[in-house]
Symmetry: C2
């Protein structure tokens, strides 16, 4: 995270800004509401007139939202008023229509007393002209978009997204659109990584598959280093045919690390060049995805200025014991089941790094700390929530 | 949810399928791995040869991933092998390179004994030709995309997304691109609702602002009913100027409900027509967004076949007491702070439905059940997580 640079900024249209991060403070351009307005559909009254109820008042006017009052409400009078409409002179409170009874077209009976100010939203309550309503560094959620529209920002300055390239390597790989070859392994990494990047709102470029040829690999890597971030899967372990690391170094990449005490994902590597950074991800599909989660995802979100770079974690109860040999942090694919006591995490089954289905069916990654001797059933564990867990099957309560 | 129909299906490209829901079972098209392969970079050996260690073996071949072995490993021999490469005849285990020492180019010393099968992934371990690997109704996450690429699905059948139209109503509203008018209220609802829909992966159509004119409103509503879902904000309460409900009914919409015991959001309405459904949302920005969360969001996700239509809820500890009068379910905008004891929920401050900032800064909606007399500090509460909470500031542990 220390090696990762915050990218520059760019202006985008409001309707393309969701999920981006503000690169400017946003000021209000008006008092909102612009005058004292009614918070309810009802009647604007003088509170003194309803000190004793029931009270029958004369309706002198209808005030719509968007209209302006033309009368001052005198003693014994009121005005029919809509939510958001300006409170007329003379009135100091609003009574909602449900608490009134029409006596005739021009007369209404009020059944409850209210204090001055009741159901009135004072001028400037929501925002005051000129004040900062949103700070630089704020993630643009739908609620933030509502605020931006409120201050009429059709365009906003946001941090730029990283341009991301994805490369797979290896003679054994068969491309998605290449003919079936029983002896080969389909390249799933390019596509899974693409989706992981897309889930962050970034559209990456797939460079394709570099075969085990030093010149071809060099050309591909050179192309990839034109992007802000290059993800290379495969070719980063210690076998004699692994050209990726030396080729990257020959291209001026300074490797920051190339092996991490984690499982899966041991051979993950990271390097930086003048204007790019490179992640070397394991060729194994599950390892590649887990390494993306731990390293690439926070880096990409950090580059976009997001104050929340990491996956949300929750505490869960372990459903079934998990074995572990100390030495490496382990990321176990689990499903989460909501029970009375909270979330229960259960391993998705075979955790071999060659089981892509373990990732497809996972709700989260249970983190087994490096020093652990294994985790007993019913222990409290930390689980990183994955895509697809922002929503749940049931509403979560009877309200 | 009972009124909402599952939409039909359509074929989309794999790289456009993230977040959609499978409308077909997916079968494997091959054994994966296609043969017994090495799970490590190392040496393919005969386990009997390393029953006593150290043992020095002759290296007879290099087997790359994507290559095929050409020799049978005999007693006292081994083959250098890469992760994913086929295990040669004669060998029954793999020893990872870290547990070996090169004696010369053609000889390697093995320092540990292993059992037959060690670090070998047997043919078909990940998937068997013909088996169902993903079920209809599965949400397409990055892990699922990896599986789809593994079985070479460049296109997949998914449930169609609803076509959504958004309409604001009211003379008091000022459009985003209209000139500033101090007496008007900017239309933020259209844009906030658009973003809420976009956050579900759906690109809605903004119809604009219908003024308080029955003919104009009728034309707009008629246009909106050409979509699968029409969201109308404003004009649904009981004021005399509210034309929306009667106009919808005149257009053949059967209103299913038009008032809910909730706060904010009391005047929310829902109706169905032959090929469309309509949500009448309050004109107030916060109320409109809260009603979207409670009603529109699960409906839209349900129409797309998503098995998880509802926002994820978590249990949190209430940081500051919350008053409540029984009668309506209340949705209080809160921030969430992670502490030792778990998440602590604190109200974002003024909860007036006219405070759009309360939604912009909220991490979640605390649900106060209808019958509650108020919630004391330190009580356990249920919080619906909002956009922006899928990630957090810190990694969540030292591993």
């Amino acid at each position: 995270m220390e090696s990762v640079k915050l990218l520059g900024s760019e202006t985008v249209r409001l309707d393309r800004s969701l999920g981006r991060v503000l690169a400017e403070d946003i000021h209000s351009n008006r008092d909102q509401p612009p005058y004292d307005v009614s918070a309810m559909d009802g009647f604007a009254i003088r509170s003194a007139d309803v000190a004793k109820v029931p009270a029958v008042l004369e309706v002198v006017e209808d005030i719509k939202a968007g209209g302006m009052p033309s009368w001052t409400v005198q003693a014994g009078q009121c005005a029919r008023i809509m939510t958001g409409a300006p409170v007329p002179q003379g009135a100091d409170a609003v009574i909602r229509v449900e608490d009134t009874h029409a006596v005739s077209d021009l007369r209404v009976r009020i059944d409850c007393s209210v204090k001055a100010g009741n159901d009135i939203r004072p001028r400037g309550e929501s925002m005051r002209d000129g004040e900062v309503v949103l700070r630089r560094g704020t993630e643009i959620t739908p609620g933030v978009i509502g605020m931006l529209a409120m201050v009429k920002r059709a365009n906003v300055l946001v941090y730029r997204q990283p341009r991301v390239a994805i490369l797979s390597t290896g003679d054994e790989l068969e491309g998605l659109n290449e003919p079936f070859d029983a002896g080969k392994i389909p390249d799933s990494n390019s596509h899974a990584l693409m989706a992981q990047v897309q889930a962050l709102g970034i559209e990456p470029v797939l460079l394709g598959i570099a075969r085990d040829d030093p010149d071809e690999l060099r050309r591909y890597l050179q192309q990839g280093l034109q992007f802000d971030v290059l993800l290379v899967s495969g070719g980063t372990s210690v076998g004699v045919h692994d050209y990726v690391r030396p080729t990257l170094e020959a291209l001026g990449v300074q490797m920051m690390f190339w092996r991490v005490a984690m499982k899966p994902g041991h051979p993950v590597a990271f390097g930086i060049a003048a204007d790019a950074c490179v992640f070397g991800l394991p060729g194994n599909p599950v390892s590649s995805m887990v390494c993306f989660e731990q390293f690439v995802l926070p880096a990409l979100r950090g580059m976009m200025g997001n104050p929340r770079p990491y996956r949300r974690t929750i505490e869960a109860t372990l459903g079934r014991e998990v074995g572990h040999r100390p030495g490496r942090t382990e990321f176990i694919r689990v499903t989460l089941d909501r029970q009375e006591c909270g979330y229960v995490a259960v391993s998705t089954g075979a955790q071999g790094s060659g089981m892509p289905s373990s990732m497809a069916s996972a709700d989260g990654l249970l983190v087994v700390p490096s020093g652990s001797d294994g985790v007993a059933a019913n222990s409290k564990v930390t689980v990183q929530l994955l895509d697809g867990t922002a929503y749940q099957e049931e509403a979560g309560g009877e309200w």
